[in-house]
Amino acid sequence: MLGMAIAQSTRDIITLKGSAALVGEFFCYAVNSILFQRGVYPTDQFDKVKKYGLTMLVSEEERVKSYITTVTSHIGNWLETGKVQRVVLVISSIATKEVLERWNFLIQTDREVTDKGILRQKSDKEIMGEIQAIMRQITSSVTFLPNLEEPCSFELLVHTDKDFEAPNTWEDSDAKLIKKGQEVKLRSFDTKVHKIDSLVAYKLDDTDV
């Protein structure tokens, strides 16, 4: 009985490293899911994978796959420093370069964990439930987001603290904000180390006006 209790408690302990890996993985699946749902790449380039108790669609296109895995694994590593403030997925028109959609993931890091190494507790099940809810919201977002009628490209932007030293595979960028945008706040999830708030901003369909 006691052994079980210990096992239970160790399983629910969230370390900084574990939380960072979990959040990094979340970004990987979230980005894939958004690219699929928004039709940035053709649907036949995606493959079904079971994750978070859902069927997630993951790009099979080699270059897309390598971009997402590289970037999200970098983010996963950087999350351990506590210096990542937000991750933004920008979808913009290839022809006009205009930004049409921004998926914001605001990250709040518990300073006590990064600075003092304190451990937090939260059950995996609870976190999975929260992630699942966000993924469902991404899927359902197609109902209110305007159709992307033209070929689009995407990019991931990472907002970090000023003093963050990025590897030379990265470069500074502008925020790529949307002019005259509309915002919809989505759900949050919290590992007790990192709290992720999500929000989607999109360009209003001016043909409706």
């Binding site: 749902q37 790449y41 649907t43 669609l57 971009y67 990472v158 970090t160």
Partner: protein, 473 residues
């Protein structure tokens, strides 16, 4: 929002500071610009002037402040300043306090010309392309779609009296006469009638062109007819007994007779017999070329199934068979080459055998054997699904649809009152005609629609859909 600090002493201090700022606005001095008061420098005009035009709230606040009288209480002024500070922090936090990074190598653009399919994606539950949609259930009609009378149809197991052409015409031999029934419009034509000395007709076989038809006769003659002009084109002689089986392979016509022989005729040339295949010890009653045209399967009343190489048929060397398969316990009439797997042949045995056997004709090994409990008269593979249709004799006279390779019975179609001797498949692969000793011809919608056809109609719908949309705009 943070509650504004209303401590009098602090606000007094700030008011004096504020006074400085107002004075400086007229004539900014380097002294002001280098001011380092934390959280305060943002609230100067100087800063606002360089900001983007988006911060209307702040601009408005500043404009309002410019015109405001000095009668504002110091605490209220302080509150407004806090408010301004908060507004500034919210909108400018990204720019002032963070670094924005982008990965240098960018993701690729979507492939050119790829249909974005978004509308399709939003309107469907399942993802096209990601998972092949499978038809789990298909309705198989239990009754024939149509029944035709076939008076005087011979109830002889060793003959092949039914064939369906690539031009959708069913040929059926009734005693001495060959009739052509056009499945498209239902018209009936009499192709030929054999004389009493030649008849009855023992086999019919459409050439791949759907125009010419070979007719085997009891007199051992094989006649070639033009179905358009209803005229005989030529006569092929060689057999010494009735010709009960025919099989085309391009311009090559193979004929199997009661003289235990198989002749290969090149119908284009004067000396039409290119080779002779001897191997059977009794009447040849089943003859089928593989879809690739590389192998010929022949079944005989001697219970033997032979596999022959096409090279032998063309070159003229009377080489022996590739395989001699003797596992059937009765005459082998029912033969069908698998349309989706090369080297796979299904064969069915007669009353004493009752088995459907599957062969790898490359190695000659028997892959599977299923006892059907009834004489197997004919076999047809579905071209759309992995299914096989067999026709039987005593006691049910039924057609059985099998799932391959599990050989689970999917349907049993009854209706005929005598053994179902012949099967022929429509050119679109959807329906099958059966001819039985009860002198009827029945048509069954047993194989269902082709998958590709469905997809084609679907894509047609979507294109017309987007076309309509364009019209509206």
């Amino acid at each position: 929002m943070a509650t504004p600090c209303r401590s009098p002493c602090i606000s007094a201090k700030k008011v004096s500071c504020w006074g400085d700022v107002r004075a400086l606005r007229e004539q900014p001095s380097p002294d002001f610009l280098s001011r380092k008061t934390p959280g305060r420098q943002q609230q100067t005009d100087r800063y606002i002037a360089v900001r983007s035009s988006m911060n209307f709230e702040v601009a408005n606040f500043m404009l309002g402040k410019e015109n405001s009288k000095n009668d504002l209480s110091s605490s209220k002024e302080e509150y407004q300043k806090q408010l301004a500070g908060n507004l500034l922090r919210d909108t400018n936090a990204i720019h002032s306090q963070s670094r924005i990074l982008a990965f240098k190598s960018k993701p690729p653009p979507p492939p050119e010309g790829s249909d974005r399919e978004t509308k399709l994606l939003y309107s469907e539950n399942t993802v096209p392309g990601a998972v092949k949609s499978r038809r789990e259930f298909r309705h198989i009609p239990q009754a024939p779609e149509r029944t035709l009378d076939a008076p005087e149809m011979l109830d002889d197991y060793y003959l092949n009296l039914l064939d369906w052409s690539s031009t959708n015409v069913v040929a059926v031999a009734l005693a001495n006469t060959v009739y052509l029934w056009n499945a498209g419009n239902g018209t009936i034509e009499e192709l030929m009638q054999a004389g009493d000395s030649d008849g009855p007709v023992t086999s019919v076989g459409w050439a791949p062109d759907g125009k010419h038809i070979a007719v085997g006769l009891n007199s051992a003659e094989v006649q070639l007819w033009d179905s358009c002009s209803l005229r005989q084109v030529r006569s092929l002689k060689g057999h010494s007994a009735r010709v009960g089986s025919l099989a085309w392979n391009g311009p090559i016509l193979s004929t199997g007779g009661r003289d235990n022989l198989i002749y290969n005729h090149d119908v284009r040339i004067r000396e039409h017999i290119t080779s002779r295949m001897a191997g059977h010890e009794q009447e040849v009653c089943g003859l089928k070329w593989s879809p690739s045209g590389q192998q010929l399967a022949s079944g005989g009343n001697d219970n033997i199934l032979h596999i022959w190489d096409a090279a032998a048929a063309v070159s003229g060397c009377n080489s022996p068979y590739l395989h001699r398969l003797d596992e059937h316990q009765a005459a082998v009439k029912a033969l069908a080459w698998c349309p989706f797997q090369s080297n796979l042949l299904a064969s069915g045995g007669g009353t004493a055998d009752r088995c459907i056997k599957f062969w790898n004709t490359h190695t000659g090994s028997c892959l599977q054997s299923v006892d059907t409990n009834s004489q197997v008269c004919a076999l047809q593979w579905s071209r759309h699904e992995r299914e096989l249709l067999s026709s039987h004799g005593f006691s049910q006279n039924q057609l059985i649809l099998w799932k391959y390779p599990s050989m689970v019975k999917m349907a049993e179609l009854t209706g005929h009152s005598s053994r179902v001797l012949h099967l022929a498949q429509s050119p679109d692969g959807n329906s099958v005609a059966s001819a039985a000793g009860d002198e009827t011809l029945r048509f069954w919608q047993v194989f269902g629609m082709a998958e590709t056809k469905k997809v084609a109609t679907k894509s047609k719908e979507t294109t017309t859909g987007s076309f309509n949309k364009r019209c509206i705009r």
